[in-house]
Amino acid sequence: MTRTVTITDPSGLHARPVSLLVQIANRSASECLLHFDGKQATMKSILFVMSLGIPSGSTITLEVNGDDAASVLADMVAVLREHRVIESL
């Protein structure tokens, strides 16, 4: 399952929300990937995701493969919205 979002936070995807996303990813047994600009990173690795240095205005795709894909994605989008990293839809 995938979800595509645009990062509107002028700081880009910075450490606080990344840390929360990584927490969610690590609580799940599913594979969690973040796609950006032709690259992909496993969301279980804070270093990998942060090293992508995702700036403001970027479009990223969250991909979760597994039984709990729907709830994991919902949690992740909720976190991003709560921290105003993406716009509320």
């Binding site: 002028p10 450490a15 927490q23 690795s45 804070i46 270093l47």
Partner: protein, 571 residues
């Protein structure tokens, strides 16, 4: 001997030095038979590191707050990062070397990657990785990590650098301050020190060569001075300074969360003048009721090139969101005159103070101006933004500036970028033409802020930087007072507020006059706010009104001064 560093967190401390030697870990590279065993060793070391970090995290959450504790959540994730482990395992399998060497290499790669990033925020994460790397390596090598929790007597900690994890563990009962060789005001440790209200001095190169554990140290976190083995006289002087200050602070502290009210119930606002977001901690500690002037020149001056819209937006947002319920007045670019920019060559003028500067420059260089206006409008959603134009001389200039602001708003609207629609717009009143015609200007703005520094210059035709004529800087002069009265009366007749952000606003002798004339807001250096609030609590508005009236009838600066001094003594 006196050493000079950067005062990172205020306060005086006198105690024995406790020197934390930099931990130098030697990482050997050896061949091994059993790659699996190395992999297990690494995982055990990571587990140890994670446990230590969890303890520190909980300690920090208790001693400080969740926000600071979250740094360690990220550290925990870095320590157990699956990508880091996967890469290390790969090296172990192919090269059959020890876990220390393999892990060190991978950690270094990540560290280097972050150090190379342009974004300052991500660049700083490299030191988080370094901290975690050291912890895991120490666990692997069986080297005990510095455990500041074992400090059991009154000390000042001296170190090369203090990692966030060490700073968080400093036992407050025994550690009275810290001094580091490296670092600046915005490093993690400095920020934590200010939150902990622990005196700190950073950036003293060579300090470790001059201090040994056991030496008596005296440190002043305001001035950044550190004295090794001070004389009894020096100690006595600083102890007195500390005691005096503590006594005053205790009184002033009682005024922190109070509104500013006179003895007879009249309310005014005391706000702070700032130059950058770094000034905010003191502003908040001093209970400022708003920001009366955010000088944006520093964004332009501390740079190699024009600050981008994004950079500006970030700075303004940072200030606005720290005082979301209070007004924040941000002044548009005020360069030229004595403030020059190396990357923006302006034609040399015979008289730069009376020349093409500030708003005049901005109305000419609309590219520059609109970048700033856009950043302001966008940041405005985060708080109570008040945009203020400096050096306005005529209504046409004001209207032009407002039109450009509207243009920016329209553009942002069309681009679908969020911005503040209800932004308040005001002007500095510093040119006599505006002070005289204040009734007209008051109809076209939301507020005035009187800039006495320049108003006095222009009124007495004397440069404030010129020693020969500095005697003409006469802040209590009746001519100035009459101009001020005109401005205040015009503002109130048109139902707008009027404040003052020049140096006179923070002048205790001028305070009763300005109060009596009806000034609504006094914006000053944050450090003066609490004592001014205490001063206002002793004044009576009605008496000040009568006294101010009398001052308006005087003929010289000295006559007014005498009158006020007499008034204050008589109370």
């Amino acid at each position: 001997m006196n050493h000079q560093g950067i005062g990172a967190s205020p306060g005086i401390a006198i105690a024995t030095a406790h020197v934390i030697q930099p931990l130098v870990l030697t990482v050997p590279t050896t061949s091994v038979e059993d790659a699996h065993r190395e992999s297990s060793r690494l995982r055990k070391a990571v587990e140890t590191a994670v446990q230590q970090l969890k303890t520190i995290r909980n300690l920090t959450a208790k001693r400080l707050d969740e926000d600071h504790a979250m740094i360690f959540d990220a550290h925990i994730q870095m320590a157990s990062d699956p990508e880091m482990l996967r890469q290390t395992d790969a090296i172990l399998a192919t090269e059959r070397i020890n876990a220390e060497a393999a892990y060190d290499r991978v950690a270094q790669q990540f560290q280097t990657m972050f150090e190379a990033m342009d974004d300052a925020y991500f660049k700083e994460r490299a030191s988080d990785i370094a901290d975690v790397r050291q912890r895991v390596l120490a666990a692997l090598l069986g080297v005990p990590l510095v455990d500041p929790a074992t400090i059991d007597h009154d000390v000042i900690v001296v170190a090369d650098d203090l990692t966030p994890s060490v700073t968080a563990q400093l036992p407050r009962t025994f550690v009275h301050g810290f001094v580091t060789r490296t670092g600046g005001r915005t490093s993690h440790s400095a920020i934590m020190a200010r939150s902990l209200q622990l005196p700190a001095v950073v950036g003293i190169t060579g300090i470790l060569d001059h201090v040994s554990t056991g030496d008596l140290l005296l440190m002043d976190g305001d001035t950044g001075i550190v004295v090794v083995n001070p004389t009894d006289d020096t100690i006595a002087t600083y102890r007195k300074k500390q005691a005096d200050y503590d006594a005053k602070r205790r009184i002033w502290d009682t005024f922190r969360d109070q509104p500013t009210i006179t003895a007879d119930g009249h309310h005014v606002e005391l706000a702070a003048n700032i130059g950058s977001p770094d000034d905010m901690p003191l502003v908040l500690r001093q209970g400022a009721e708003g920001i009366g002037l955010y000088r944006t020149e520093f964004l332009y001056m501390n740079n190699d090139n024009l600050p981008t819209e994004h950079e500006q937006y970030q700075a303004y947002k940072t200030v606005l969101e720290q005082l979301p319920a209070r007004k924040v007045v941000i002044r548009t670019l005020d360069i030229g005159g004595d403030k020059q920019l190396p990357y923006l060559p302006l034609e040399a003028e015979l008289n730069p103070f009376l020349g093409h500067r500030a708003l005049r420059l901005c109305l000419d260089r609309t590219d520059l101006f609109k970048t700033q206006l856009r950043a302001l409008l966008r940041a405005g959603v985060h708080g109570q933004l008040h945009v203020m134009f400096p050096m306005v001389a005529t209504l046409e200039e004001l209207r032009q500036a407002k039109a450009l602001l509207q243009e920016c708003a329209d553009e942002l609207e069309a681009e679908g970028v969020p911005y503040e629609r209800e932004v308040k717009v005001g002007i500095m009143v510093e040119i006599p033409s505006v002070a005289m015609l204040a009734d007209h200007f008051a109809k076209e703005v939301d507020f005035f802020s009187i800039g006495t520094n320049d108003l006095i210059q222009y009124t007495f035709a004397a440069g404030r930087m010129n020693e020969k004529v500095s005697y003409l800087y006469q802040p209590y002069h009746p001519a100035l007072l009459r101009l001020i009265k005109n401005v205040i009366d015009a503002a109130h007749a048109n139902h707008i507020w009027v404040g003052m952000c020049g140096e006179v606003a923070g002048d205790a002798l001028a305070a009763p006059i300005l109060l009596g004339l009806g000034l609504d807001e006094f914006s000053m250096s944050a450090a003066s706010i609490l004592q001014m609030r205490q001063l206002f609590s002793t004044m009576e508005m009605e008496a000040c009104k009568r006294m101010a009236d009398a001052c308006l009838g005087k003929a010289t600066n000295d006559e007014v001064k005498e009158h006020v001094e007499h008034f204050l003594k008589r109370r």
